[in-house]
């Protein structure tokens, strides 16, 4: 029999309330049920009105379903955040150094720190951008680092997202809605602001304009269109930054530059924050059948006429097989010890690791190397024997496609549920911006597994979101 693991409750264990949550316990406990229900419907109405919904791939049902919002905030003390802030920035810096290196001289491979085949044979490694140095040498301008907590001082990085991490609109909207509904909480507590994120993102994008850009850069967000699950976020960020939201057909290439069609005629675009995958960005360079991209864009990019964020090819840094080597990158490029730890990871492609994984499937979490969104994932302790057997067969068939990690005892945070207030497991995704400077707004997206005992926080798997507070110093 497995012993029931003891989870770290962020509000406090054994009745003692930890400082950042002081006052929130009584706030929640004293909230009359009726008031709470009113507030909950108010929150839902607000979310509906602003139109923030999350369509989920491959699940059918209502594509405009709301992602559940929990009113109980998730809170970090200032000193807790200081460590996360340093750790996340360190990681973002190392990941970018890695990208610049593997599309350049490949020193880390030559030094034998990372096997060349993992990097260069990786699906996400783009031959087309080898030797191309993006402005300021930055490939991943927005790094979303998924973190979990297992104890007062124990944080682990679950994965890095170097391409186009989504969810930052939830960080901003959750805060907005909490402030509207509970203004007194924001008077009573000194909570660090996150509202300046769009301004920082804009500044970051401006700072990576190519050398050929003269004057103030023109920035645009390139979206695959309204059918994309994160379309709301694309239009939200465009609004907040005061930049154009465009689809591939709105852009065209002429000579050395890329232009967008506007009512006042063509306008040169200097920085494109793209929310479409590499494969679809330009049919003249990648998938020839792509209708979403801009023909010739990659040639303009590679000849220095436009900046693309994230830079094509950035995905090789957030691959789950590369993840294992991030601590090594930090040592190699920065000469520092990692501030945040990785989760121990077994590569099923390695025979010894494979043997261990197959023998211990019931205790492990298994993920596809290229999977995301909680699909194609096995949580051993929460799976039936049948589910485990199916995964066993899948792993044996293509071991290189899987990695495994121990089932982490994710911390819990108090959450409003049917019966009142109960602990539910949470994770955190802060959004680190990399341009001229490296910036991190104090906060992020906290996802919460609303089902009792569940450790899967993905919104596609029934997870919800919370406002994330960092107490001001």
């Amino acid at each position: 029999m497995l012993e029931k693991p003891i989870y770290f409750n962020e509000m406090g264990m054994d009745g003692a309330v930890r400082p950042p949550y002081a006052g929130l316990d009584t706030w929640a406990a004293n909230m009359p049920e009726e008031f709470r229900n009113t507030k909950q419907s108010e929150a839902e109405a607000l979310f509906r009105r602003i139109g923030i919904t999350f369509a989920v791939y491959g699940e059918g049902g209502d594509p405009d379903r709301l992602i559940p919002f929990d009113m109980f905030p998730r809170i970090f003390a200032a000193d807790e955040w200081r460590k996360l802030d340093l750790g996340v920035k360190q990681r973002a810096k190392a990941l970018n150094a890695f990208l610049l290196d593997v599309y350049g001289r490949g020193e880390i491979v030559k030094a034998g720190k990372i096997p060349g085949r993992l990097v260069y044979q990786n699906e996400a490694y783009e031959k087309a951008v080898v030797g191309i140095k993006p402005p300021r040498g930055v490939y991943s301008h927005i790094v979303g680092v998924d973190l979990v907590r297992t104890g007062p001082d124990e944080f682990f990085v679950l994965e890095d997202n170097c391409r186009t991490p989504s969810g930052v609109s939830y960080m901003l909207e959750n805060r907005e809605i909490m402030m509207r509904m509970f203004p007194q909480l924001f008077r009573q507590n000194r909570i660090a602001p996150v509202e300046n994120y769009p301004a920082l993102l804009r500044r970051t994008l401006d700072s990576v304009a190519p050398e050929k850009c003269e004057g103030a850069p023109t920035v645009a967000i390139l979206t695959p269109g309204h059918f994309n699950s994160a379309y709301y976020e694309h239009s939200f960020l465009a609004d907040m930054m005061g930049v154009a939201l465009v689809e591939g057909q709105d852009l065209f290439v002429k000579g050395d530059f890329c232009y967008m069609r506007t009512t006042e005629g063509p306008k040169k675009v200097d920085v494109i924050y793209r929310r479409i995958d590499d494969a679809y960005i330009d049919p003249l360079c990648f998938r020839p059948d792509s209708m979403l991209g801009v023909p010739g864009l990659m040639n303009v990019y590679r000849s220095g006429g436009v900046a693309i964020a994230s830079a094509p090819g950035a995905g090789v840094a957030d691959d789950k097989a590369i993840y294992t080597f991030v601590p090594e990158m930090i040592r190699f490029y920065l000469g520092e010890e990692p501030i945040l730890n990785n989760v121990p990871t077994w590569q099923c492609g390695k025979p010894d690791d494979l043997k261990y994984v197959l023998e211990n499937l019931k205790d492990l979490v298994v993920k596809e190397v290229h999977g995301s969104g909680g699909y194609g994932m096995l949580v051993g302790p929460r799976s039936t024997k049948e589910q485990i057997d199916i995964f066993y067969a899948k792993i044996v068939e293509n071991p290189g496609n899987y990695i495994a990690q121990p089932t982490l005892a994710l911390s819990t945070c108090p959450t409003f549920v049917e019966e009142g207030i109960a602990p539910r497991h949470v994770d955190l995704r802060p959004y680190c911006l990399v341009g001229e400077n490296i910036e991190l707004v104090p906060g992020g997206l906290t996802r919460v597994a609303l089902t009792e005992g569940s450790l899967v926080v993905n919104s596609s798997q029934g997870g919800g979101v919370k406002d994330t507070w960092v107490m001001a110093e």
Binding site: Y120, Q121, K254, G255, P295, N299
Partner: protein
């Protein structure tokens, strides 16, 4: 050998189409086996720009057209002094790590038949250079040079199954056979001056990475390594990635293309 190239590609759009955009890879590679004496690429009505040399050493340029377009004519003319290096791409400046080519693509995915052919070919073939020769020989034997049996969309696996094909099929199959053994290989385009034998003035072959030698060309169609009769333009994963002219257009009309290429020995003019 001093080779003189005249290469005209004409596209006709019916009805005329908008948004015509092309990425061109039409300039001879710079390496010890080729010296470019003169080279011109002319396209009437095109707006050209965004040119650069990519990590694989190819010069790339973009051509777009304003409004709707009925015809596009790309004229390539030039003279190149070539030297026989037995296929070795000596002195070629490039930055792409050879391992980056070891990945399966839509054209170069290895069927069981390709895998078997590859394994059989390299068994007992000795060192990497010997293995590369054996692969090229096996592919040339397995696919008989037969124009008209395959088309631009034929994959390596399909070509091997048919047992017939043209230079594109030989090159795809050779690349597929090599990379399924984790040997870096790529698709190469260029020109061939041919007198007798298999005559495709606009030609394709494969390069295989051989430690100590670097990239070495293998033309399975002609069972030779490229010599002074060959002019190399560029490379890629497959025929689309390496295409000398890669284009798109918007519209529902039909596109027809005609190609006219001559590669002459300038000293016999």
């Amino acid at each position: 050998m001093r080779l003189q190239v005249n290469h005209r590609t004409s596209y006709t759009f019916d009805p005329p189409m908008r948004g015509v955009a092309q990425s061109l890879r039409l300039w001879p590679s710079l390496f010890d086996g080729q010296a470019v004496l003169d080279w011109h690429v002319d396209i009437e009505g095109a707006i050209r720009g965004a040119n650069f040399r990519d990590g694989a050493g190819d010069l790339i340029e973009t051509a777009t057209f304003l409004g709707s377009v009925e015809t596009v004519v790309i004229d390539v003319r030039g003279t190149v002094e070539t030297t026989d290096l037995s296929g070795v791409l000596r002195g070629h400046r490039e930055k792409v790590p050879p391992l980056a080519y070891v990945r399966r693509g839509p054209f170069t995915y290895a069927s069981n038949a390709i895998r078997e052919l590859a394994q059989k070919a390299v068994a007992g073939a000795g060192n990497p250079l010997g293995q590369a020769h054996a692969l090229a020989e096996a592919v040339g034997e397995a696919i008989a040079y037969t124009p008209g049996e395959t088309d631009a969309k034929t994959t390596a696996s399909e070509a091997l199954e048919a047992g017939r094909g043209v230079c594109q099929d030989h090159a795809h199959t050779l690349v597929a056979a090599a990379i399924c053994l984790d040997i870096p290989a790529r698709y190469v385009t260029g020109y061939l001056h041919a007198e007798g034998g298999i005559a495709e003035a606009s030609h394709a072959w494969a390069e295989i990475y051989v430690p100590d030698l670097g990239w070495v060309g293998f033309d399975a169609s002609n069972q030779v390594c490229p010599d002074e009769r060959y002019i190399r333009l560029g490379s890629g994963f497959d025929s689309i990635d390496a295409a000398p002219i890669r284009g798109v257009s918007q519209g529902r009309g039909t596109e027809s293309m005609s190609v006219d290429v001559t590669v002459l020995d300038a000293n016999q003019q």
